[in-house]
C-alpha cells in the first residue's frame, strides 16, 4: 500500500528537489516554531514560507478530507454513533441528521474547512511558482491534485449553487458566485489536467491526478472519458493518508486528519433506516472483510463496532486501483458490455479476502439492468466503505440512473439509534450554512432552490 510518503518520495525523486522542497525534517528543525505563533507576511513571502504554506495546505486537506469522510458517513448509513456516546449537545444534534437545518452544522463545518483548504492550496501554488519555479513542480502537482479532490468532494455533497469565493492572507475577500455542481466537477477536471500537464517523475502523483479526473468525469456522466483516464492505473495502487492517533494525542497537533476521534463511538448497523445497505448481514454471511464487524474468538458476530479504523494507524485512500476498476465497470455497464462489467467487478473482489483468508468469490451476472446497477453500487459501497463516497453514489443513483429517492436514501427509524428518525426529505442536499450567513454576507450567492440539486 502506498502511503502519502509515496507522494513525498515522488517529489524527492530528484536530488535537487529533495533538498529544495521535500525535506520535511529540515523544516521542523529550522523553524524553531511555536504552535499558534503568527507568521508575518514577510516570512511567508520566502522560499521556506512557501513550503510552509504548501505543507499547511496538505494538512488542511487531510483535516478536511477526514472530517468530510466521517461527516458523509454519518449522513448515510455507513456508520452510526452510539447514542450514549454523545459528548455534548452538538454531538447529539449533528447525529440527529435528518431535519435539514440540523445537518447544516456538520455540512457548514465541512464546507468551511474545504474552502480554507482551497484558499491555501491556491496560495501555495502561487507561492511555489514564485519562489521555486520548476523545482517546485512536485509540490505544485500535488496541490493541483488536492484542489481537484476538493472540488469533487464539495460537488458530491452539496446542492448546486455553491459559492466559491476568493480570499487571501492579506484580508482581501472577493465574494464568489454560486456555482453548479457540474461546473465544480469541470474545475476538478481542469485541476487534474493542469497537474498532468506538468512533467514530473512521480507515478503515484500522476495516478492520483488521473483518479481525480476520472472521478469528476464519472460524476459528470462522461463514463468513457472517465474509464480512459484511469486505464493505466494498476489494481494495486492506493494512495491516501495515514495518521497516528496516539501521536496526535501525545503531541497535540492542530489537525486530526482522519476519522476515529473516539474509536468505539462509531459502529456499523445493519441497514439503518428502511433502505440502507445490509452491511452486517453481508459481512457475516459472506465473510466480506471490506466491511468487517467485530467478532469474538470463535469468529461469531458479537458486536456491531466497526473496527476498520479501530487501529491507531489506518490509511484512508484518496484514490485506489480498485476504484479505477469500478469506474471502468460502470463504463462497461453503461455501454452494455456485461461480461466486461462483471469481470471488472470480480477483479475488484479478487483484491479482497474473506475472513477465512481466501479471496472473495467471483459473482455472476444477476441478469437484468436494475440488478446490475444494484450490484455495482453495492460493490462500490463495500469497496469504498468509509471513504466519503456514499452520498455522491446515492445522488448518482437518482440523477444518473433514475432511481426514486425513497428507494435509495434510508428512511424511517434509524435502526441503531432508537431515537433518531430519518426525515422526510430523502436527499441530503445541504446549503452552505444553516444560519444563512452565506446568503446574508455574500451578495453573489444564490440559494439551492434556483438550481438542480
Amino acid at each position: 500500500m502506498i502511503k502519502l510518503r509515496s507522494i513525498i518520495g515522488a517529489c524527492i525523486g530528484s536530488p535537487l528537489v529533495l533538498l529544495a522542497a521535500c525535506n520535511l525534517n529540515s523544516i521542523t528543525d529550522s523553524a524553531n516554531s511555536i504552535d499558534g505563533e503568527l507568521i508575518t507576511p514577510d516570512v511567508i513571502e520566502s522560499k521556506e514560507g512557501a513550503r510552509w504554506v504548501y505543507l499547511g495546505a496538505v494538512a488542511r486537506f487531510n483535516d478536511f478530507f477526514g472530517r468530510n469522510t466521517m461527516g458523509v458517513a454519518r449522513f448515510t448509513d455507513e456508520v452510526s454513533v452510539l447514542p450514549d456516546k454523545f459528548q455534548d449537545a452538538n454531538d447529539a444534534r449533528i447525529n440527529n441528521i435528518r431535519p435539514e437545518e440540523e445537518s447544516y452544522y456538520v455540512a457548514g463545518d465541512i464546507l468551511t474547512r474545504g474552502q480554507s483548504t482551497k484558499v491555501q492550496l491556491q496560495q501555495a501554488t502561487q507561492l511555489i511558482d514564485k519562489y521555486y519555479g520548476s523545482s517546485g513542480s512536485a509540490m505544485k502537482v500535488h496541490s493541483q491534485a488536492l484542489l481537484g479532490l476538493f472540488y469533487i468532494i464539495i460537488a458530491d455533497n452539496y446542492c448546486s449553487g455553491i459559492a466559491i469565493s476568493e480570499s487571501n492572507y492579506g484580508g482581501e475577500f472577493i465574494p464568489g458566485p454560486a456555482l453548479s455542481r457540474d461546473s465544480l466537477y469541470m474545475r476538478a477536471v481542469a485541476s487534474a489536467d493542469n497537474g498532468l500537464s506538468i512533467n514530473i517523475d512521480s507515478v503515484p502523483l500522476n495516478n492520483l491526478l488521473k483518479g481525480v479526473k476520472a472521478r469528476a468525469l464519472n460524476n459528470l456522466g462522461r463514463y468513457k472519458e472517465a474509464a480512459e483516464a484511469i486505464a493505466d492505473v494498476p489494481d494495486a495502487f492506493s494512495l491516501g493518508e495515514i495518521f497516528s492517533f496516539s501521536e496526535i494525542r501525545a503531541e497535540g497537533v492542530g489537525y486530526q486528519p482522519l476519522v476515529p476521534i473516539a474509536i468505539d463511538k462509531y459502529h456499523i448497523l445493519n441497514s439503518k433506516g428502511l433502505n440502507g445497505v445490509i452491511w452486517v448481514a453481508d459481512s457475516s454471511a459472506h465473510q466480506d472483510m471490506r466491511i468487517p464487524v467485530r467478532t469474538n474468538a470463535a469468529g461469531n458476530y458479537i458486536y456491531p463496532l466497526q473496527p476498520e479504523y479501530f487501529s491507531a494507524k489506518k490509511m484512508i485512500a484518496f484514490f485506489s486501483g480498485a476504484e479505477a476498476r469500478l469506474i471502468e465497470a460502470e463504463y462497461h455497464l453503461q455501454e452494455g458490455n456485461i461480461p466486461q462489467f462483471i469481470e471488472k467487478i470480480n477483479s475488484v473482489r479478487r483484491l479482497y479476502k474473506q475472513r477465512s483468508g481466501s479471496t472473495l468469490p467471483d459473482i455472476v451476472d444477476p441478469g437484468n439492468h436494475n440488478s446490475r446497477v444494484d450490484l455495482l453500487f453495492k460493490e462500490r459501497a463495500y469497496t469504498l466503505y468509509l471513504t466519503g463516497r456514499r452520498i455522491a453514489d446515492m445522488r448518482r443513483l437518482t440523477s444518473h440512473y433514475g432511481r426514486e429517492p425513497e428507494t435509495v436514501w434510508p428512511t424511517g427509524k434509524s435502526e441503531g439509534a432508537q431515537f433518531i428518525m430519518y426525515g422526510s426529505n430523502y436527499f441530503f442536499v445541504p446549503e452552505v450554512q444553516g444560519n444563512g450567513s452565506e446568503a446574508n454576507l455574500n451578495p453573489n450567492y444564490n440559494r439551492c432552490e434556483n438550481y438542480d440539486i
Partner: protein, 1118 residues
C-alpha cells in the same frame, strides 16, 4: 477632642497674621475661629486661687480659662513662684496682676485669639530681636521614617517659614533668638509641634521631628509609573490598601483573596471554583470591550506581570482524548505570588492608568509593592496558619448508572458524564436500572501555611527575606472504585474531577535596598514561586476492565488510576531599580525587570500497565459481566499531589516572559506657587508569550515603548493640576505609528478657601476631577492576519506547517476610551470619618467587534475585526469609613463601600457578528456586553404521567429574552472593627452584598440530575436549560446576595509573656470567612462561575462553591 481644637487654633494663628508670617499661606480652618472656645474671650471673667506656682503656670491657667493661646518671647523669664487669688476679673486684669513685677507685660492679639507676653522694655526687645538664628531640620513620616516633602514649617509668632524639600529637609533663616514653637503642617497629616530655643550660644539648631499621617487617605503617597505622588494631587481616586490589615482580618490565601477581601468599590473578583488554585477574573469598573481583553494590568514592584495566562485559549492544554484540550483550571498568574510578601496594593482605576502605563492598562492597573527592609536590627517573624475548610451547598455525589442499551441488551453503560448530563435518562422510553457510586465532594479541606521572614539593615543596606510554604487540600472528594469483573467502557470523567484538588506553593521573596550615599539608592527585588497543582484522581481496583475516553483499557486484575491532571508552575519576577538624587529638586533613575512564568500541564496520564492507546482488545473480557461497580471499601480518599513518573502527557506549554526596562527623570521645583514638573519615560515594556501545545493559543509579542510626561502644579497647596501625556512609540499594530494618552486631572481643597462654610462638621473637602484617554490595541493577527505555525501530521510525521488562520484588517485602530471621573472627598475632624464619592463615565469609541465573513471565504467565520461599535460604562463609587471611638483604650470603626456599574452598547454597526435571537449571548444595542438572554418557558406538563418532564413536554419560546447582566450592577461591602485592651484584642467583621446579576443555575439533585419525582417546575427549568443550552446548561437567574464575608478575633499576648519567650510580639487570631450567605439563588454559589475568563459566564454545575473557612493563626516576632 480638645487636643484637636488646640492644634486647629495653632494653625489659625499661623495664618492669622498675629506676629507671624503670611507665608506659608494657610487657610485650613481660618474661619473656624468664630466657633472656637477662644474666640472673643478677652473679656471673659477669670477666677482662680493658686499658691506657690510658677508664673508661667499661672499665665497658662489664665490662658486656659480664657480659651486663648499663649505666646511669649524667649527673653521673658517666668520662672518665679507666685501666689494669686482672682475672682471674676477680666483677662487683662488677671494678666496684669499675674505679671506685676515680673518685667514682662501681656497683651491680647488684635484678633483676640492669643495672649502675647513681651518684656516691658520694648526697646531692648527690639534690639535683641535683631539677633537671629537658623532652624534646619527634617520632617519625617512617623511610620515610614521617610522624609515628607511639601510640609509647611513655620516658627510660631514669627514670619519665618519654609516648605520641606522632596527629602523632607528644610531650612528657616533669620529666626529671632528665643524660645519658639515650631509647627509643621501638611494636608493629610496631623500637624506636628516642637518647642525650640535659639540663643546667642546656639543660634542655629537642627531639628528632626515626625509627623503622623492622618488616617484619612489624603496623606497617602501612591506609587505610579512616574514615581510617587500624594494621592491628594491626583484627580482620580487611587485606592491603596495595606495587605497586612486585610490579612489580619481575613483568611487570605492568595493575592486574589487579598483583592477580594479588600472590597474595593468597582473591583469585582469572580471565582471559577471554590477549589485550590481556581483562577479568578478581575474586572475594574465593569466590562469595556466587546472583543478585546478586559483584564487589568498587573504590576509588581514596577514589573509587568503576565496576567493573561488564564485566558480561555490557554486555560490548560494538557490533552485528553483525541487530542482535545481539557479546560481544567490553573491558577491566575497573580496567585503565584505569596500575599504575605505584599506590602501595599494600589488600584488605579481611572483615567490616569493608561497615561501612566500605556495601552495595556486601559482596563486599569493593580500595583503591588512588596515588603522592604528597614534600618535596624534583624527582626524575625514566624507565623503558622491552619485552615479548616468546609464545603457549603455541596452536592452529595453523582452516580454512575447502567442499564439496557440501544439493542435492549443489558450491557450499555451510562458514563459518569453522560449520566450527569441526563443523557441516560430517557422519558419513559427506556428503563434504566441504576447502579452507582457517590463522588462525595463534601469532605473537609485544609490549608497549612508556614511563613518565615526577616527584615533589617543599616543606613546603607536594608533587606527583607521571606519564605513560605502552603499546602492546600481542597474539599473535592474522589472515589476509589472496585470493578468486579466489570467492563467499564469509556468513562468520561465528570468535569468536577478535573478541577484542582490540592495545591502546594513554595515561595521566596527578597528585597534589598542599597544606599551607598545620600544621592544614590538601589533596590533589588526577587519574588519566586513554585506551585504544584494536582487534580483529583479516581482509583479503580478489582479485576474489571475499562477504558477511559477510549485511551486505555485496563487489564483484568490490575488496578487503574485515573489522574485527571494538574500543573506545575514556576514563576519569578525580579527587578532592579536605581535612583539618583543629586539634588533635592530633581532625580532620575531607571529600572529593569523581568517576569517569567513557566507552566507545565499534565493531562490524564497515569494509566498503569497501559501505554497510551489500546492496551488490550475488548473482546478478551467478553465473558465478564457488563458492569458491576461498588464503591471502594472504606471511605473515599483523595489521591492527589502525586508525582506521575510515568506521565505520558506532560506539556511544557507556557513560558511567558515580560521584560520591563524604564528610565525616568523627576524634576520638582518648589516656587512661590509650587510647581512640580515630572518628566518620565516610562514604562518601556516588552512581553513575549509563547505557547507550545495544543489549542488556539496565540503567541503575541506585545511590545510597548513610549514615554510619559506629567506636570503637576500645586497652587497655594489647595489646588492641584496634574497634566499627563503618554506617547507610545509603537504597538503590536502599526509598528511605525504611535498612540497618545493624554490626561488631565485636578483636585481642589475647597475647605481651604475662605468662602467655605465655617463649621466643624467638615474639616476637609476636596473636589476632584480627571479626564483621560485610554486604548485597547488589537492583536497583531487582527491587523496583519495571515498564517500561524501549526503542527500537523503528514506522512506519519509531525512537522511544522503554516496555517492560514485569520483575516487581517490593516485599517484597524485601537479602541479608544474617553473616561471622566469626578468626585469628592470629605473628612471630618479628628479622622472621625471619611467619605469618598466618585462618578465615572467611560465612553468607548471605535470599539472593536467581529464582522462576519461568509463561509465561502474559507476564512474563520468569526470574521475580521472592525472598529464599528460604541460602548459606555458608567459607575458610581462611594466609600465611607468612620472612627466612632479612637483612643488608647478602645477603637471602634465601622465603614462601608458601594459601587454601581452599568454598561451599554451604544452602537454595534452593520453586519457585526451578533448572535442569533435564539442565542444566550446576544449583542444588542442598548444592552450590556455579556448580557444574558434566555428562551422563556411558556409551558410544561407531564403529559405521559411518568413523573418526568421530557423535552416534548415542554414549550419554549422561539426567541431569547433579556434576563440580565452577568456582572453585578451593584456591589457593597460593610466592615466593622472594635479593639479593646489597649488595642490588643480586636474583633472585626465584613459583609458583602452584590446584585443583581445573572448566574446560571443547574437544577439538579444530589445525584447530579433531575429525577423522577422532583418538583415539576424544577424539572422544567432543568430540561429547558438542556434544550436551549448552546454554551451553558444552566438556567439563567437574576440573583442578589448578602454574604457574611469575614469574622475575626485577634489577640496580642501580654508583653510580659512574650518577652519571657524573647519575642517582641506573639499574636494569635481566629478567622472565619464565607460564614453565611443569604441569596435568592437556587444554584450553588452566585459568586462562583466556571468560566474564569472573557466576558461570558457559564453555569455553576461543575464547580464548587467557595468553601467556608475557619483559620487559626499564630505569629511570633523576634
Amino acid at each position: 477632642m480638645r487636643f484637636q481644637y488646640a492644634k486647629v487654633l495653632a494653625l489659625v494663628l499661623v495664618s492669622s497674621g498675629i506676629g507671624v508670617s503670611q507665608e506659608p499661606e494657610s487657610h485650613l480652618g481660618r474661619n473656624f475661629t468664630s466657633l472656637l472656645p477662644g474666640a472673643g474671650q478677652s473679656a471673659r471673667s477669670i477666677s482662680l486661687d493658686v499658691k506657690d506656682v510658677h508664673l508661667s503656670e499661672l499665665i497658662q491657667k489664665i490662658a486656659d480659662q480664657a480659651g486663648l493661646q499663649l505666646s511669649w518671647s524667649g527673653k521673658v523669664v517666668l520662672d518665679r513662684k507666685v501666689s494669686l487669688t482672682l475672682k471674676n476679673v477680666d483677662v487683662q486684669e488677671a494678666l496684669g496682676q499675674a505679671l506685676r513685677g515680673s518685667g514682662a507685660k501681656a497683651s491680647i492679639s488684635s484678633n483676640g485669639k492669643m495672649i502675647v507676653i513681651v518684656p516691658e522694655k520694648q526697646d531692648s526687645i527690639s534690639r535683641q530681636s535683631q539677633a537671629t538664628g537658623t532652624v534646619r531640620g527634617r520632617v519625617i513620616d512617623s511610620a515610614s521614617k521617610n522624609g515628607v516633602p511639601g510640609v509647611a514649617v513655620s516658627v510660631l509668632g514669627t514670619r519665618a517659614a519654609a516648605v520641606t524639600k522632596s527629602d523632607g529637609t528644610f531650612s528657616i533663616p533669620q529666626v529671632p533668638l528665643g524660645r519658639h514653637t515650631l509647627i509643621a503642617r501638611l494636608l493629610g497629616y496631623r500637624s506636628g509641634e516642637r518647642a525650640i530655643v535659639l540663643n546667642e550660644k546656639s543660634p542655629d539648631i537642627n531639628v528632626t521631628f515626625a509627623v503622623v499621617a492622618s488616617a484619612s487617605r489624603l496623606s497617602e503617597v501612591v506609587t505610579t509609573a512616574t514615581g510617587q505622588q500624594r494621592r491628594l494631587e491626583v484627580g482620580n481616586d487611587i485606592v491603596k490598601i495595606n495587605a497586612r490589615e486585610i490579612m489580619d482580618r481575613a483568611p487570605v490565601r492568595s493575592v486574589s483573596d487579598l483583592i477580594r477581601h479588600a472590597q474595593v468599590p468597582g473591583v469585582n473578583v469572580l471565582t471559577a471554583s471554590g477549589e485550590p488554585g481556581a483562577p479568578t477574573r478581575i474586572r475594574m469598573r465593569g466590562i469595556g470591550s466587546i472583543s478585546q481583553s478586559t483584564d487589568p494590568a498587573i504590576i509588581v514592584d514596577g514589573i509587568w506581570v503576565n496576567s493573561k495566562m488564564s485566558d480561555s485559549s490557554i486555560i490548560n492544554r494538557a490533552f485528553g482524548a483525541g487530542g482535545q484540550s481539557r479546560a481544567n483550571y490553573t491558577p491566575s498568574p497573580i496567585d503565584n505570588i505569596d500575599p504575605a510578601t505584599i506590602e501595599t496594593v494600589e488600584f488605579i482605576r481611572g483615567p490616569s492608568a493608561a497615561s501612566l502605563y500605556g495601552h495595556e492598562a486601559a482596563n486599569g492597573v493593580i500595583v503591588f509593592t512588596t515588603r522592604r527592609g528597614s534600618d535596624g536590627q534583624a527582626s524575625w517573624s514566624y507565623s503558622y496558619s491552619h485552615d479548616w475548610d468546609a464545603q457549603v451547598r455541596a452536592k452529595n455525589g453523582y452516580w454512575v448508572g447502567y442499564g439496557t442499551d440501544v439493542f435492549g441488551n443489558f450491557n450499555d453503560i451510562c458514563t459518569i458524564r453522560t449520566h450527569y448530563n441526563l443523557d441516560c435518562i430517557q422519558d419513559s422510553t427506556i428503563n434504566l436500572n441504576r447502579f452507582g457510586f457517590l463522588l462525595d465532594e463534601s469532605g473537609p479541606g485544609s490549608i497549612d501555611i508556614h511563613r518565615l521572614s526577616v527584615r533589617g539593615g543599616s543606613n546603607k543596606i536594608t533587606y527583607s527575606l521571606s519564605t513560605s510554604y502552603q499546602d492546600n487540600i481542597g474539599t473535592r472528594r474522589t472515589p476509589r472504585v472496585d470493578m468486579i469483573r466489570a467492563r467499564l467502557l469509556n468513562i468520561s470523567l465528570p468535569s468536577e474531577l478535573r478541577y484542582p484538588g490540592r495545591k502546594k506553593d513554595l515561595s521566596l521573596s527578597s528585597a534589598f535596598g542599597f544606599t551607598p550615599n545620600r544621592i544614590l539608592n538601589i533596590d533589588l527585588t526577587v519574588n519566586a514561586n513554585n506551585s504544584n497543582l494536582r487534580q483529583g484522581e479516581i482509583e479503580f481496583s478489582g479485576d474489571g476492565l475499562g477504558s477511559i475516553d477510549t485511551m486505555a483499557v485496563l487489564n483484568r486484575g490490575k488496578g487503574l488510576t485515573i489522574s485527571t491532571g494538574g500543573s506545575d508552575a514556576f514563576h519569578v519576577s525580579s527587578g532592579i531599580s536605581v535612583n539618583l538624587r543629586p539634588d533635592s529638586w530633581w532625580n532620575m533613575g531607571g529600572s529593569v525587570g523581568a517576569d517569567i512564568t513557566e507552566r507545565r500541564d499534565h493531562g490524564r496520564n497515569d494509566f498503569r500497565d497501559c501505554d497510551m492507546g489500546v492496551c488490550e482488545p475488548l473482546e478478551d473480557v467478553a465473558g465478564a459481566p457488563r458492569l458491576r461497580l461498588r464503591q471502594g471499601s472504606g471511605s473515599t480518599k483523595v489521591l492527589t499531589g502525586r508525582t506521575f513518573a510515568g506521565g505520558k502527557i506532560s506539556t511544557p506549554f507556557d513560558r511567558f516572559v515580560s521584560f520591563t526596562p524604564s528610565i525616568h527623570l523627576d524634576i520638582r521645583r518648589n516656587m512661590d506657587r509650587q510647581v512640580l514638573l515630572n518628566l518620565s519615560e516610562v514604562p518601556f515594556g516588552a512581553e513575549q508569550g509563547s505557547g507550545n501545545g495544543n489549542g488556539s493559543m496565540t503567541a503575541n509579542d506585545v511590545i510597548t515603548a513610549g514615554y510619559a510626561v506629567t506636570t503637576g502644579i500645586n497652587v497655594m497647596d489647595k489646588m492641584y493640576f496634574d497634566i499627563g501625556f503618554r506617547q507610545d512609540a509603537g504597538s503590536v499594530i502599526k509598528r511605525n505609528s504611535s498612540s497618545s494618552y493624554p490626561r488631565l486631572s485636578t483636585s481642589w481643597v475647597v475647605s481651604e478657601e475662605g468662602f467655605f462654610p465655617k463649621n466643624r462638621l467638615i474639616e476637609v473637602l476636596v473636589l476632584r476631577g480627571a479626564f483621560g484617554y485610554a486604548a485597547v490595541h488589537p492583536e497583531e493577527a487582527d491587523v496583519n492576519g495571515g498564517y500561524r505555525y501549526r503542527r500537523a501530521i503528514i506522512n506519519d510525521e509531525i512537522i511544522w506547517v503554516g496555517e492560514l488562520g485569520s483575516v487581517g484588517n490593516n485599517k484597524l485602530v485601537p479602541e479608544r476610551s474617553f473616561e471622566f471621573e469626578g468626585g469628592f472627598d470629605v473628612y471630618l475632624p479628628g479622622d472621625r470619618a471619611e467619605l469618598i464619592f466618585n462618578f465615572v463615565n467611560k465612553y468607548l469609541r471605535n470599539a472593536i467587534i467581529d464582522r462576519s465573513l461568509p463561509p465561502s471565504s474559507g476564512l474563520p467565520t468569526t470574521g475580521r475585526k472592525e472598529n464599528i461599535s460604541r460602548v459606555q460604562n458608567r459607575s458610581i463609587e462611594v466609600t465611607l469609613n468612620t472612627s466612632l471611638i479612637d483612643n488608647d483604650l478602645m477603637l471602634l470603626r465601622i465603614g462601608g463601600s458601594m459601587a454601581t456599574v452599568n454598561n451599554v452598547i451604544r452602537r454595534l454597526g452593520n453586519n457585526a457578528i451578533v448572535n442569533s435571537n435564539t442565542s444566550r449571548d446576544r449583542l444588542v444595542e442598548g444592552y450590556q456586553i455579556g448580557s444574558v438572554w434566555d428562551l422563556p418557558v411558556l409551558g410544561y406538563g407531564d403529559v405521559n404521567g411518568d413523573g418526568y418532564i421530557a423535552q416534548n413536554e415542554l414549550i419554549l419560546g422561539d426567541t431569547t429574552v433579556y434576563k440580565g447582566w452577568n456582572t453585578p450592577k451593584f456591589t457593597a461591602a460593610y466592615t466593622g472593627e472594635i479593639s479593646l485592651l489597649q488595642r490588643n484584642l480586636t474583633f472585626s467583621f465584613s459583609l458583602s452584598q452584590q446584585g443583581p446579576h445573572v448566574q446560571y443555575a443547574t437544577f439538579r439533585d444530589n445525584y447530579g440530575e433531575v429525577v423522577v419525582g422532583a418538583p415539576l417546575p424544577l424539572q422544567a427549568l432543568s430540561v429547558a436549560s438542556r434544550v436551549r443550552a448552546q454554551r451553558s446548561g444552566g438556567t439563567a437567574m437574576n440573583v442578589s446576595e448578602l454574604r457574611l464575608n469575614t469574622v475575626s478575633v485577634s489577640y496580642n499576648l501580654p508583653k510580659s509573656f512574650s518577652q519571657r519567650l524573647n519575642s517582641k510580639l506573639i499574636a494569635i487570631s481566629l478567622q472565619g470567612s464565607n460564614l453565611g450567605l443569604w441569596t435568592n439563588y437556587s444554584g450553588r454559589d452566585p459568586m462562583v462561575n466556571s468560566t474564569p475568563v472573557g466576558n461570558l459566564i457559564s453555569d455553576d454545575g461543575y464547580v464548587l462553591p467557595i468553601p467556608r473557612k475557619f483559620a487559626f493563626n499564630v505569629r511570633v516576632e523576634l
